[in-house]
Subunit: 332 residues, 2 copies
């Protein structure tokens, strides 16, 4: 049988993540115990939240220990099952981490249909990022037709779904992304009404022009100076869904946000959230998103890294915004 | 008849407010037109929101024009009435501004009972600040028995009511105030479980000790470094009622808040609000607060400036935290 390959957390990053924080090792393929399933992973998901797991700073959940396999969502094929609900040949989504093979108890796995959408989509638009977009926009921002929705990291795994859903809700969708190519894609492919390239250095002026009626909803993935700039343009009773702060993740000293006053005078509601707090909505969101993708109403794009050994480089690139669309690693 | 005295906005402040921003003038007492009421003001309220009206920066409402009478809540006695609902000798709360006499249309005035609570209380604990406390705490923080509520400007007009209401709700109430005397008053008179003197320079350490189970609700009147410190101790699913940012009002370059990450990882809801957005709750709040004061269950304290000519100095002191309790000006 094949050997298993794993990427371990070799050391905790100080500031920016580097290749030296990871170690690629070879291991035997594990054997499933009672109630467990052995999965050959086809795709690994890379997501910004993993940065938080690499440190001991307070975050949603416990950090990865040094020497342990990096955590991560995966989709793959059942090779061996000691669980009554799964059979060899089933395709399952789970969280088996940065490795080629893994075992998990059956109740942590979800069977998926490889004929409805491509397998990798279950890690993105029809997976955790898609559900994150759905819940943050529809539950926390509650956009109404005619309102203006601004989305940072507009072409990322989450942002690209937010922008398209905002358009479906009858809103003006304005993206913020890094670089001309991403902005063109946002408008031409994803249907954003406008997209501002923050790297062009005129974010405030261009955003103001793109939002002539101000901003009613802000779906925030980035933080830092982008947040401060968007806060300046919030309308009375605006809603901010705080989903991520990727610009802060790699820095020791986070940016100080000055425009808190805008939250006061405009009576803004800001809600920090993570997708797993609303598991009551998760499966409904996934089911609706799967239908929209299969009907061709929801587009997505992936950055594919080829092979587990390239996962660290791809993850470092993700934190720097070098991905274009959902970052996945092809393992098979 | 007496002459009217008024305090005008003489010039807009640049940075800190100074006496030179105001001008005291003598005018004739006005005559009420049809539907109007002439009121002799007994008490003038001084409140932090007035700082916003002195500038043209975006705020809740339109600024005071240079040369106009400063806005402000007042309570006084009806001298002459051309409105069917009011008679000479009635006591009324209104917004007649920094002057001894003023006219207003009857529908902007509310008759109050001078026998239920002292007249000046209608400008504080049984007025706009009390209703602000009520709505922010009970509607936006929604504290549950056993939770920890932190209140900044804990002995101020709003904060002192928040702390007492939090105790009535069965919460641990922890105040933040400037100086030992205010903190002693907070604990001994208002019933706070603890109060931290931020001027002692150990806000984080002392707040952490005073909140062994973390912070579930934060009623924010201050902003700046205080906000950043409290954010570090928020619990998962904490609520922040953003009522004021007095530390920012007098500065050109506001403090940058670094701990936005805590709002994300703890899935915090932050709600900016002003009391007049919830007029549906205002009268209920005032009625409950009046009953609590008359039953002796709700305490309050006032800083009294004597005479309209002392209003500018008192207002400057209020912005610097030199008041102790609700700042009012005695006019009669």
């Amino acid at each position: 049988m094949d050997k298993n390959m794993q990427v371990l957390l070799a050391q905790r990053p100080k500031g920016a993540v580097t290749e030296a924080n990871f170690q690629l090792v070879e291991r035997d393929v594990p054997t499933p115990g009672p109630g467990e399933v052995l999965v050959r992973n086809h795709w690994l998901s890379l997501d910004p939240y993993m940065r938080g797991r690499m440190t001991t700073a307070k975050s949603y959940s416990t950090p990865v220990e040094v020497g342990d396999v990096m955590v991560g969502g995966t989709v793959g094929e059942v090779i061996d099952s000691k669980h009554p609900r799964f059979r060899t040949g089933d395709f399952v989504v789970g969280s088996l981490g940065w490795q080629l093979f893994g075992t998990a108890t059956g109740d942590t796995l979800t069977r998926v249909d490889p004929d409805l959408v491509p397998l990798s989509a279950y890690l993105g638009v029809v997976g955790m990022p898609g559900a994150t977009a759905w819940i943050g926009l529809l539950e926390h921002c509650q956009p109404r037709a005619g309102e203006t929705v601004v989305v940072s990291a507009a072409t990322g795994a989450v942002g690209s779904v937010v922008g398209q859903l905002a358009r479906m809700q009858g809103c003006r969708a304005v993206g913020i992304a890094g670089g001309k190519a991403k902005c063109e894609y946002a408008v031409k492919e994803l249907g954003y009404d406008a997209c501002i390239d923050y790297k062009a250095g005129k974010l405030y002026e261009e955003l103001k022009q793109a939002c002539p009626a101000g901003i009613d909803c802000y779906y925030e993935n980035v933080g830092g100076p982008t947040m401060d700039t968007v806060f300046r343009l919030l309308n009375p009773f605006a809603r901010v869904a705080l989903c991520g702060l990727i610009s802060d993740y790699n820095v020791e000293d986070p940016y100080g946000v000055k425009m808190i006053r805008s939250l006061l005078v405009n009576r803004v509601k800001l809600q920090g959230f993570i997708v797993t707090d609303r598991m009551d909505l998760y499966h409904r969101a996934i089911s609706r998103l799967g239908a929209l993708v299969s009907q061709g109403r929801l587009k997505y794009r992936e950055s594919v890294a080829d092979g587990l050994q390239n996962a660290p480089t791809a993850f470092i690139g993700l934190l720097a915004g070098r991905n274009f669309g959902k970052q996945v690693v092809k393992l098979v």
